[in-house]
């Protein structure tokens, strides 16, 4: 005669511990908690090690302000250029059906997945003194692009423009093309259709794309340090300054990191209505 436990173990041919495992949510909860912890712990570590009373003092360290100012100026220029050039590109792509559009979308995805350092190398080779674009620019204008604030903007554009275009294109594709058709029959030129129909109907998507692209430009490190260098006040953006200050003035690096964390959270707040409901 079998014991209760043995009976239970034998039931349905499945050992009891397996059944208990499948019936409980403990394994899922464990893995999920571990995953969450890996994301939250570094942020907690940063906040815990911050010298809150001295935060303002640390933010006055000589390395901090020029970096913040440069980051603000360059990322805002980048954002402006990304929106000026990227919005029409996104609109045309959203209305295109041909093979060319498919290829262009694929090309735009490359900088999104490319390691930023590789992007920096590519930028250096294209815009450098002997580069595809850099050589004629130097010959014509005597202008050296690498290791200038212009290079910072070009690096940021390279990584954030595709991001912006792909996000906005998605929003624009969900605008019913029959709105364009009606507008055209009413006498609106393609440019007017874009300005008066496409832009307003895709406005929430454009705002979200802009916020993401700006956050992306603000955090840009690899392409910038490779292509624009790390010159204080000229090409040393906030992420670069954090990296440098970590060696010399850790509290300044932490203070700058906190400032950037605050900015990131503010961007999330802007997007909250869209993705966090």
């Amino acid at each position: 005669m079998m014991t209760d436990a043995a009976q239970s173990r034998q039931r349905d041919g499945v050992p009891a511990f397996r059944r208990r495992l499948a019936g409980s949510r403990a394994p899922l909860l464990t893995l999920a908690t571990l995953g969450m912890a890996l994301v939250v712990l570094p942020l907690l570590g940063l906040i815990a090690r911050t010298d809150w009373p001295g935060l303002l003092t640390h933010l006055r360290a000589p390395v901090v302000w020029p970096a913040i100012r440069l980051s603000l100026i360059t990322t805002l220029i980048t954002l402006g250029l990304a929106m000026l050039l990227g919005t029409p590109l996104a609109w045309l792509l959203s209305r295109a059906t041909g093979r060319l559009a498919t290829w262009m979308r694929a090309l735009l995805t490359v900088p999104v997945v490319l390691p930023p350092v590789v992007g920096g190398v590519a930028l250096l080779l294209a815009y450098g003194r002997n580069g595809l674009v850099g050589a004629p620019v130097f010959d014509a204008l005597g202008l050296r692009i690498p290791f200038t604030p212009l290079a910072v903007v070009l690096a940021q554009l390279f990584v954030s423009l595709p991001f912006y275009v792909l996000a906005v294109e998605g929003a624009m594709r969900s605008v019913d093309p029959r709105f364009d058709h009606v507008a055209a029959t009413l006498g609106a030129s393609p440019t007017r259709v874009f300005l008066r129909v496409g832009l307003p109907l895709a406005a929430p998507g454009i705002a979200a794309g802009a916020a993401l692209a700006w956050a992306r430009a603000l955090g840009e490190f690899g392409a910038t340090i490779t292509f624009a260098g790390n010159l204080t006040g000229r090409t040393q953006t906030a992420p670069l300054a954090v990296y440098v200050a970590l060696q010399s003035d850790p509290q300044a690096a932490i203070a700058l990191s906190i400032a950037m964390l605050a900015v990131s959270i503010a961007v999330l707040g802007l997007l909250r209505g869209r993705w966090m409901g």
């Binding site: 019913d176 029959r178 709105f179 058709h181 009606v182 507008a183 055209a184 029959t185 009413l186 006498g187 609106a188 030129s189 393609p190 007017r192 008066r196 129909v197 307003p200 109907l201």
Partner: protein, 351 residues
Amino acid sequence: MTLEAHIRARRGDFEVDLAVHAEAGSVVALLGPNASGKTTTIDAIAGLVPLTGGHVRVGGRTWADAHTSVPPQERSTGLVAAQHLLFPHLTTLDNVAFGPRSRGMRRAPAHARARSELVALGIGELAARRPRELSQGQSQRAALARALATDPDVLLLDEPLSALDPATRAEVRAVLGRRLAAFPGVTLLVTHDPLDALTLADRLVFIDQGRIAQEGPPEEVIARPRDPYVAHIVGLNLYQGQTVDDATVSTVIGPVMTSGVESRGSCWVAFAPAAVSLYPELPVGSPRNAFRCTVASVEVLGQLARVRLTTSDGHPLVAEVTTTSVAELRLHTGAALWATVKATEVSAYPA
């Protein structure tokens, strides 16, 4: 402004190939089954679908032919679809003024023009509302106002009433009818609903698989359908055949005695469902056409019933009888009986 068009355009797996002519001030209804090429025809005239051949000419101006294609914004059309497609970010007034503004009119006169069009369609008081604050019927009137505010040469209505509930549809149909009476341009009206076509159109064009199945004034098309789909829409039994003598036509359902043929040769015979009587046994004595049938379905509509039959050769025949007969004959699917039609009730006309 007459419209003179020969449309050839791709639509999925077939090519639309049909000619449309319309005089200024007239309303032409395009009817046909789903996916027959009606919307493609409309879009090709608006310039939203490229022609693969043919031409579009309006008032002597060429909008499209083998050499040219005027872009949609430089043609003079007004488009209304089943969905109102009002711009959600603009007020009703700004929606209606969008056309005049796009054509270079200044703000104040454009708003005045829009306001008068809204008043003409009976929704002047809704000018300041946003589209989401309008009812279905109001939205569709606003869409009509927007299409008319540019005084287009050609007004293209693509099933404008099909998304409305029956009560609203009747109301908007009446408004549309009144407004079209005063509209000097050409109107093309795509519709599924025979009532729209009969109450609004001067001419009916039936389209099937991208070709014209039949066209003509409504009275003529109703009386003499020449296409199975047309017959279905106007509710007649229709069979193709060959004349045998002055009154008899040989058809797919057998020889049919008619009220008389106009000319010898290939012809159509048509009779109304109400002209059909049903008997359990072949009636003797009277000079009638009689067809052996089985019942396919019975649909009761108040005092009358529509009985769909299949002849012994497998062809459809529709009879309309009283509900009393349905009960007396115990009509049910599969029941065998005789359908008779008096010769005087059958018309025959050349194919």
